[in-house]
């Protein structure tokens, strides 16, 4: 059993607010004494070590860790008390990169990206760069959090933004348990508003996808089946449409790691991840086609490595020195959290990575 915490690990000055401490935990214990193989050892079995990037497809920019919610499973340790926010100066550096990148997808995330005071200006400028797929990860409740956000759906529509939103279940109980009281009703309202202006409707070009991640120490089910359940449930009960559902595995870092340890599920969960290891998923893990940029302009292999403070192993480490060719010639930083990306059908910000 678990309660929704109102503060981030950082604010509480909890032990696991420290990324190095998290990395220690992931390297010691069952992995330190060889009871379970490390991720490096595991991918060596199929000659996939070191992990190397393929073609860059996605630029994921984290514009800040501030969020209106404090979800218990959050790998960002986001919350209203986090003050790390991307400045306009860094955004301008990002815009230069966006104009010249070979990537076809731009993915803005947070926290709640909309809470960055320069969010709209940034979206307006970035959308001019003509990137094929422009994603904003919106937690839905932000749209209803404050009057100043009420027009976000229209704003997204105007800039042809692809909205990707988390929705843990199609029933109220499970959603509120994971994300906090009232989150389900607010999310439903936001989805209805997005639908009303065309988002997520069958045949509409205004893309609305949902993200599911399990509400506890277990793995997500098969994505296609779950999508059917969500579609059926949300349509039947609330008349809501959406396009795709991405089933994402919770990675054992930040608040989710804290929860796993506090609830004495850590070892079992790591066993589950290792048991479900799928060598085919390794080929398509997110870091092979993504660069993650933090609020302060540092470059990472993925958003998870960002939270663990594992900067790219490249001469180019900061957006101010950005060079795609140099950057793509690197080994990816890994640890045992990577097992979360290779369990079952695999997991990425775009959901499963294998058919």
């Amino acid at each position: 059993m678990s309660k929704i915490k109102q503060q981030s690990l950082h604010k509480r000055e909890a032990e696991l607010a420290n990324a190095n401490r998290q990395l220690e935990i992931l390297s010691n214990g069952i992995f330190g004494d060889g009871e379970l193989p490390t991720f490096a050892k595991k991918i060596k079995e199929t000659n996939q070590f070191p992990l190397r990037p393929k073609k860059l497809e996605i630029l994921q920019i984290n514009v800040g860790y501030m969020c209106n919610q404090v979800c218990e499973h959050c790998h960002v340790d986001a919350g209203p008390d986090r003050k790390e926010i991307m400045t306009w100066e860094t955004m301008e550096q990002c815009l230069d990169v966006i104009k010249n990148t070979g990537a076809h997808t731009l993915d803005l995330t947070g926290g709640a990206p909309e809470m960055n005071p320069n969010f709209r200006r940034f979206v307006e400028e970035a959308s001019k760069a003509g990137i094929k797929d422009f994603i904003v990860r919106s937690n839905l409740t932000i749209i209803r959090a404050n009057k100043k956000y009420y027009d976000l759906p229209e704003f997204f529509k105007k800039h042809n933004v692809h909205v990707v939103s988390s929705m843990p279940h199609w029933t109220r109980g499970k959603t509120d348990k994971q994300r906090g009281e009232g989150v389900f009703d607010l999310s439903i309202k936001a989805l209805q508003e997005l639908n009303a202006i065309g988002y997520g409707m069958p045949d509409s070009d205004l893309r609305l996808d949902l993200v599911y991640n399990p509400n506890g120490a277990y793995l997500p089910p098969e994505q296609a089946g779950l999508e059917k359940d969500f579609k059926h449930g949300l349509l039947e009960d609330f008349g809501i449409h959406f396009h795709n559902l991405f089933a994402i595995t919770n990675l054992p870092i930040a608040r989710f790691l804290d929860y796993l340890i506090a609830s004495e599920n850590y070892e079992d969960y790591m066993y589950q991840l290792v048991d479900a290891y799928n060598p085919t998923a390794v080929k398509n893990v997110m870091c092979t086609n993504t660069i993650s940029i933090s609020w302060d302009g540092w470059l990472y292999d993925c958003d998870f490595n960002q939270m663990l403070g594992l900067k790219v192993a490249s001469k180019v480490k900061h957006i101010s020195d950005y060079n795609e060719t140099v950057l793509n010639d690197r080994n990816i930083m890994i640890s045992q959290h990577c097992y979360g990306c290779t369990a079952g059908a695999g997991s990425s910000c775009q959901g499963a990575v294998t058919e």
């Binding site: 279940h169 029933t171 109980g173 499970k174 399990p214 509400n215 506890g216 277990y218 793995l219 997500p220 089910p221 089946g225 779950l226 359940d229 079992d268 066993y271």
Partner: protein, 112 residues
């Protein structure tokens, strides 16, 4: 090695090892087991709920662990899980009670 309890949750992780002491039978069992739980005329979720109910009537702690987790993973709600267990409980108590007719038959036969 020596456990202090008959049941240790960590032993569930070792289930696969039973194959080591009888390769052929173990492998046959796991092949069969895997097939049974594949999506068929019943969905994987329906099978998981049946397994959860039977796990309770069999009172196997390992199976209860495994199929509670499996049910959650398949999006089963706790209300559905509890209803499934009641089905198991009803059959089990019904099975006890229906044998009461045997007792009644016997009494009727023995008494003048």
């Amino acid at each position: 090695m020596a456990a202090n309890n008959y049941y240790d949750p960590a032993d569930l992780r070792k289930f696969g090892q039973i194959t080591e002491w009888s390769e052929e039978l173990g492998t046959k069992f796991f092949d069969y087991y895997g097939k049974v739980f594949e999506e068929g005329a019943l969905t994987a979720r329906e099978k998981s709920l049946i397994a959860l109910a039977v796990a309770h009537t069999e009172q196997c702690p390992y199976c209860i662990d495994a199929y509670t987790k499996d049910s959650l993973q398949r999006g089963v709600t706790k209300e559905q899980m509890m209803e499934a267990i009641h089905v198991g409980a009803a059959i089990r108590s019904g099975a006890t009670l229906v044998h009461g007719t045997m007792m009644m038959n016997k009494v009727n036969k023995l008494e003048m």
